[in-house]
């Protein structure tokens, strides 16, 4: 890994941590909060691509494992690694990877701004919702000992917020592409 890649992954890990300073919102009686950190995961994929994006998330998980309070609401440690929320946490690695993988394939500098934005949005929705939620739902069902169906219904709460986050990530991804192109050196 080049020094630049190392520093960029650390930067996005830090961005995810910093987004954790926004207070988490708990809805209903589900112990998984709505958090701005999943926006950071989407942005990592969109801006850094698959490999660097998922490593950024792995760094965050390593910090959690050290018991550092890096998750929203100042959580960390075992209580965050084996909890109803944890499936989402591990799923973030895959979510960033898939978002990045799709961004790398779908977007290039020659496209119109609309195409770029829509493609980033799709990448973020597929990675950050379709791929991520199954991890979260299955894990939550096991840990919290509820039926899959219930866990599935509970996760519907996150959809509106996550769609908005995917949209924000797409706008940011597109703006970075215009203002600080990293994509050519992605891979």
């Amino acid at each position: 890994m080049s020094t630049r890649d190392l520093v960029l992954t650390a930067l996005f890990a830090a961005i995810i941590v910093a987004l954790g300073l926004l207070p988490p919102i708990y809805v209903g009686i589900v112990a998984v909060p709505i958090t701005a950190q999943s926006l950071g995961v989407m942005m990592a994929g969109v801006v850094l691509g698959a490999k660097r994006g998922s490593i950024a998330v792995l760094i965050v998980i390593a910090l959690v494992a050290m018991n550092l309070p890096v998750l929203s609401g100042g959580r960390g440690g075992m209580t965050a690694l084996v909890a109803p929320t944890s499936g989402f946490l591990y799923g973030w690695v895959v979510a960033a990877f898939v978002t990045g993988f799709l961004s790398e394939r779908l977007v290039n500098a020659g496209q119109s701004s609309l195409v770029q934005t829509v493609s980033f949005f799709l990448a973020a929705v597929i990675g950050g919702i379709f791929v991520l939620y199954p991890f979260g739902i299955v894990f939550a069902a096991i840990v919290a000992d509820v039926t899959l169906q219930k866990a599935f219904l509970g996760s519907l709460f996150y959809i509106p917020g996550d769609v908005i986050k995917a949209f924000v990530a797409a706008l940011v991804g597109r703006a970075v592409m215009v203002g600080y192109p990293l994509l050519p050196v992605r891979a």
């Binding site: 190392l6 760094i59 209580t79 600080y180």
Partner: protein, 202 residues
Amino acid sequence: MQSLYVEGNSALHRLSPRVKVLSLFLLGLVLFISSNIPLLAVVMLLTVLAYRSVGMPMKESAARLKPIFLTIAFVALITFIVNPWHQALATLLRLTALMLFAAAVTATTTIAQFMDEITTLVRPVERIGWVNATDVGLAVGLVLRFVPEIIARYHAISEAHAARGLKVRPTTILTPLIILTLRDADNVAAAIDARGIRRHVS
């Protein structure tokens, strides 16, 4: 991650960083396994003492913990609604103890010490050939370094909005924030190379 290093010379400051990092890890494990309320209560009280011993003024230490306390209170409340009361109490004690101890450790350990400890911890794993221990230490150190910088940039950019009479919106904050921090990161990467800090790669 607001709970960054606080200058001082308390016993915790002087304690070896390795002991601190390991006991943080172990405490997490023990608290997680046990649900014995008296034990949890004692541990929690001990962590209160540890946190107080750092030597921060009462007002500052309370301010640092407020957001975390709110979360803990909420998680305990949920647990209370869906589970028996003693489980909720155990959750409350467990999370509070962990939070206080984590705050005490981060307040008394410098980034340089964290990096050294992590490098040592990861060293055995290096043999698999997947990771380089020095790089893992460096990456963690950089995260700890970048977090306050990102927050400072955030403030600078929202001030720039204010100075131009513009409303602060997520995208108009995030876009310059990410572009500027990317540029900083590129400069940091150049400095790391220029200072010969990652010479193991060449």
